[in-house]
């Protein structure tokens, strides 16, 4: 699929009035995350969580800064930074992930005699959909409600990591950090020169030109 915001890179604003010093520090740290770093997940779990991340948010297009999703989830779990609530039907965050990844592998073995990461994308998606719908076979889910695990941990932790990364902001045309400079043009179909320009049909080149000037 063609890019909706061709050539838009929110990082071009890094040195502009839209980013204050504390924002630069935070985003720099995020961009520096080593995609292979894992301090919470074990060597056994690491290929599984990577495979799950690849299916929940597929990053098929080659791009300069892919989102180090699994490492970002690992970082959250390593720091054990919770959201401020825990559903009574789920164990604490770390425990839920450990049990959940083991159960996913068990489910994959029961269906295909291979671990989850060894399956093809269609087989992986079928298993994830089964977990989402609670339609699982393996007794490894005995102590972990699959629907809750999928919605409240898998989707919540992976998707929120992805959309905290500048690469995803480029994809959806989000203005990104905005302080001290905010926005001026508030009306329909109006963009400030420091916002992403959308490639409407026939306007792709113009959008690309405008996006090159964002800063």
């Amino acid at each position: 699929m063609p890019e909706r915001y061709p050539g838009y890179d929110v990082l071009h604003k890094r040195n502009s009035q839209s980013w204050n010093e504390q924002t630069r520090r935070v985003i720099d740290e995020r961009l520096a995350i080593d995609p292979d770093q894992h301090r919470f997940f074990t060597e056994e779990e690491w290929p599984t969580i990577r495979a799950v991340c690849d299916r929940i948010v597929p990053q098929t297009v080659a791009r300069p800064r892919p989102v180090p999703l699994a490492a970002m989830v690992d970082e959250k779990l390593h720091r054990n930074s919770g959201d401020g609530y825990r559903y009574a039907d789920l164990p604490p965050m770390r425990e839920a992930w450990r049990r959940g990844l083991a159960a996913l592998d068990a489910e994959a073995r029961a269906r295909h005699r291979r671990r989850f990461h060894g399956l093809g994308p269609l087989e992986q998606d079928a298993i994830l959909a089964a977990v989402q719908n609670g339609d699982v076979r393996e007794h490894a889910w005995r102590d972990l409600p699959p629907k809750s695990f999928f919605t409240k941990r898998v989707l919540h932790d992976i998707v929120s990591a992805y959309y905290a990364h500048p690469t995803s902001w480029n994809e959806i045309g989000f203005g990104g950090p905005a302080s001290p400079r905010g926005y001026v043009r508030m009306y329909f179909d109006r963009r400030d020169p420091w916002e992403a320009s959308e490639a409407r049909p026939g306007r792709e080149e113009r959008a690309r030109r405008e996006n090159a000037r964002v800063g």
């Binding site: 919770g82 959309y163 329909f188």
Partner: protein, 521 residues
């Protein structure tokens, strides 16, 4: 900042510095009382400390463990709970609304819930005081309710998302208005006008937002109050006569004791009952102020359901405060409803992490379908309610055997909507679908499971058997123990609670001053 010794009793030790405690600390200090206000969170300096980032700003939220259950488990943290000096107002959406007058007598006049021991005409004067203190930006004429003074500052410019609400409302023949907001539309003191960066719920990094942190608390400090941050209160102490004597709190890893002649609990509707319940002793085995058995009960959220759609035009709802337009039509109309209570609905401006959570966790999308939906971000519009939920004793806060990082019992919060709540939600979704459709949106869908705000759990009333505090926020059981936050609400109405919490705090301060003068403290 003035500092008080721990072993010399201050007039008031206030637990919590949000809309209730922060406001009260200011007013009491200005009336000449000695005040120490403790908060579990840090004292932020927004200009230096706040980033434009959803993950980083999670540092503003109360993220200690809470176990959530019931038929409709509540999400806490970012959704409704602050752990900062200034409380949740540091990250609130600034919507500053008055109650409909009849709600103060909901039982008598409207036939549901419970009556408040307060008179709306008196509250009207306190609302005006708070609106002035926060220099609320709002419309010249507000379409609903009795006459009120004009808002101190002019309304904010509407963004496209707000104009969609206006178009829908006009098509369906109901009133709408620019939302009265606690962010300035013109310079004020150290606050520059709002620059429409749209990240209000992450904390305002320019200080345009008129939160408790930058309105009441500087006044409190100037009047001689001490704000003690990073101080988590774990227990309220009492003596043999049954009067409270101060608070035990943990700061820098050490338990300490602040002596006080009066204690005000203002921790919001989870932490307030948690503290009172955890302060149980042989004299008060069910917790402090709990002879009615109602501490922790009647927890009320507000329903926060939404209808979302996609417009052909670019909306870019991330620009400007998230809720720039409102209709309170269904708060004031009593016909055409098959439920008690009311709701407001407002335009929306979710940031990417929150929006992706709505599409994934709430709507169930992942994989390519999620990416495709997320690409429509700049064309997305939404209408979202703040809906009245009825008080039910089964919705409650209790203590578990698990311990948190301070060694205090982790709370369990149980919440279920009742049939009336569900009818209200269904009514709102059906109406908002029509409104979005009339405004020209396509691909319309419902977000059915969200809540906002926390109230109840220590309700005020006229009768010690059916309430925890009286109209002055003074506990019935212990004369020098007060509760001043959203916990005291007997009902919630269909508007955001912060303005009402602050108005009650102003009234409480006036009552304390009057009682002190009469020697009745």
């Amino acid at each position: 900042m003035r500092q008080y010794a721990e072993d010399e009793p201050v007039d008031f030790a206030i637990v919590g510095t949000g809309a209730g405690g922060g406001t009260l600390a200011c007013k009491l200090a200005e009336y000449g009382f000695s005040v120490v206000a403790l908060d579990a969170g840090p004292y932020w300096r927004p200009l230096q400390d706040f980033a434009s980032d959803e993950h980083e700003q999670a540092k503003l939220y109360w993220t200690d463990d809470r176990i959530t259950d019931g038929e409709n488990p509540i999400q806490f943290g970012a959704n409704n709970s602050g752990k900062s000096v200034g409380g949740s107002t540091v990250h609130f959406a600034m919507v500053s609304l008055r109650f409909r007058p009849e709600w103060f007598k909901a039982r008598t006049k409207l036939g549901y819930g419970a009556d408040w021991p307060l008179d709306w005409r008196e509250m009207w004067t306190y609302y005006a005081e708070v609106e002035q203190a926060l220099k609320i930006s709002g419309p010249l004429n507000y379409p609903w309710g009795p006459k009120r003074p004009r808002y101190p500052y002019r309304p904010h410019e509407l963004n496209a998302a707000a104009l969609v609400l206006a178009q829908g409302a006009e098509a369906l023949g109901i009133d709408w208005a620019p939302t009265p907001l606690a962010t300035v539309s013109a310079p004020r003191g150290h606050s520059p006008p709002c620059v429409y960066r749209g990240m209000c719920v992450l904390g305002c990094s320019t200080n345009a937002k008129q939160s408790v942190l930058i309105t009441w608390l500087p006044r409190a400090l100037a009047a001689g109050a001490e704000i003690r941050d990073l101080a988590m209160v774990g227990r309220v102490e009492h003596d043999d006569t049954g009067r409270v004597t101060g608070v035990h709190y943990i700061r820098q890893g050490r338990w300490r004791f602040q002596s006080a002649r009066n204690v005000v609990v203002a921790g919001y509707a989870i932490e307030t009952p948690r503290l009172l319940l955890n302060s149980a002793t042989s004299r008060f085995p069910d917790g402090l102020a709990n002879s009615s058995g109602l501490v922790g009960k009647n927890l009320m959220v507000q329903s926060n359901q939404a209808v979302w759609g996609v417009m052909e035009k670019e909306i870019r709802a991330y620009k400007g405060p998230p809720s720039l337009a409102i209709t309170e039509h269904w708060n004031y109309a009593d016909t055409g409803k098959d439920f008690f209570g009311g709701y407001a609905y407002m335009s929306q401006g979710p940031l990417p992490v929150v929006w992706s959570g709505t599409q994934s966790s709430k709507r169930g999308l992942w994989g390519q379908r999620l990416l495709d939906e997320m690409e429509k971000y700049n064309h997305q519009v939404g209408l979202k309610i703040v809906g009245e939920c009825l008080p039910q004793e089964r919705n409650r806060v209790t203590l578990t055997d698990e311990k948190d990082q301070y060694g205090l019992p982790v709370p369990r919060i149980t919440y279920s909507f009742c049939d009336n709540d569900k009818k209200l939600i269904e009514h709102s979704l059906s109406f908002m679908r029509r409104a979005l459709d009339a405004a020209g949106a396509g691909e319309i869908w419902d977000e059915t499971d969200d809540t906002c705000h926390l109230n109840g759990t220590a309700r005020m009333g006229d009768d010690p058997r059916t309430s925890v505090v009286n109209a002055d926020c003074r506990s019935w059981d212990i004369p020098n123990l007060w509760i001043c936050d959203g916990s005291v609400f007997p009902t919630v109405g269909g508007v955001n609670p912060s303005l009402t919490i602050q108005a009650i705090a102003c009234r409480t301060a006036d009552r304390i001053k009057a009682l002190a003068r009469r020697g009745e403290l």
